[in-house]
Symmetry: C2
Subunit: 254 residues, 2 copies
Amino acid sequence: MAPQQEPASSALHVSTLDRGSPVPLYFQVAQHLERAIEAGALPRGTRLSNEIELAGELGVSRPTMRKAMEYLVGKGLVVRQRGVGTRVVSPKVRRSLELTSLFDDLEAIGQRPTTQVLSNTIEDATAEMAELLGIAKGTPVVSIARLRSALGQPIACLTNYLSASRISLPTEALESQGLYQLLRRSGIQLHSATQVIGARSATAAEARMLGEGKGAALLTMQRTAYDDHGTVVEYGNHIYSGARYSFHMSLLSI
Amino acid sequence: MAPQQEPASSALHVSTLDRGSPVPLYFQVAQHLERAIEAGALPRGTRLSNEIELAGELGVSRPTMRKAMEYLVGKGLVVRQRGVGTRVVSPKVRRSLELTSLFDDLEAIGQRPTTQVLSNTIEDATAEMAELLGIAKGTPVVSIARLRSALGQPIACLTNYLSASRISLPTEALESQGLYQLLRRSGIQLHSATQVIGARSATAAEARMLGEGKGAALLTMQRTAYDDHGTVVEYGNHIYSGARYSFHMSLLSI
DNA sequence: CAGTGGTCTAGACCACACC
DNA sequence: GTGTGGTCTAGACCACTGT
């Protein structure tokens, strides 16, 4: 028997499980527990019943229950220790894990950032572009430059290259939605990306564009995105106003 | 039959599987496949045999084989599609996923970055420290300032706060190994961390310390690390020379 | 249609933590 | 010890992709 609290199986109603649904059982179970945790029904540090009991209560097999648990562990909501049990992570940590960028924050308060397309052309790849995209020099490349603003102030200047053969990117679409959103809707499956984040002083032109003084600190990011086949989908070179933007991220199981 | 290449089960010798070993079977299988992939035995785009066949060849059950596959998918080494099969991703992408920081790069070429402890004191938490660490004001706090250099040049200035009750951090230890390494060896289990990366201009003092001109662009990072119980283990406020450092990272399944 | 990965089940044994 | 999560097995059915 636990000294402080006995394992709380708690108010987990089986009713919400739908075996006819196309959404997997383990996922329904996971969402079930997730909602219970987020709703505060299972306070910080609560020890869940063991997976056999839980499986029994919810009417699923143990492997299914385990898969649900693994999902929750992966999301950082619970911690498991062999021989000990499963405990609910503190809500403070859980909230901090819902990583938000400034753009997300702005959206949340109804201040949708605006995007102005500065240029959207197709040109033959220079040696540098070809190198970055892993294609032959001279191949047509889509080159985009966008200016992101929020609250009436410019925040970032984004330049991107894509292999022209892959997709067409209408300027109107680029003004209303993100590049990655567009790519995904075009059926391009992204596999991974690598990025480099740095800082440098703005040139005169950059400072003017972002409404900063000359020599202001810029946050820079270069990103290369790959699809499942290992070919480069997109290369981006972005600069952000250091005064008005920062990257927020969270790391799990470090 | 595949038009270009038939599924290659390939040179997978069962010999290396050791059922008596404490390392799980699925992990041995995964490592097995990983080595085969990295060694180039399974070139980019190779379709693996289906998991039932593979399981049979290696003498494990299908669930075990699946778990190995899930591990490889998680590492970004293979891509799976229902109804299609499992393909090996391009070595270029795989290499890009082995994220390296500049510090790692330096270590790789034998240029171990040096750490100079500027201060290592225990003081009562100010209101700000208390807020950051989630403790009461006035509680003793370990406060550390370190200067990281490489190739004879300063690169970063790291300041950290930790609850003093948790651990003692000898200055000598801090000069020879990283803070996180020390924490882990002290049995502190890290759960997650959140960080904010930004850019700003250096103050005169900061510029002097990092060997830069006044107003040079700095890369900044604030990080809060939590343990399994949801309590703050560490808060760090770091500044990096924008000219000499940048963050490298990779994203999977975006 | 055949072949693939995705899901689910019912059992078993083991390693570990705590008492 | 007892109880926990971690691993492994053998089998089944389904959803999706390609032909």
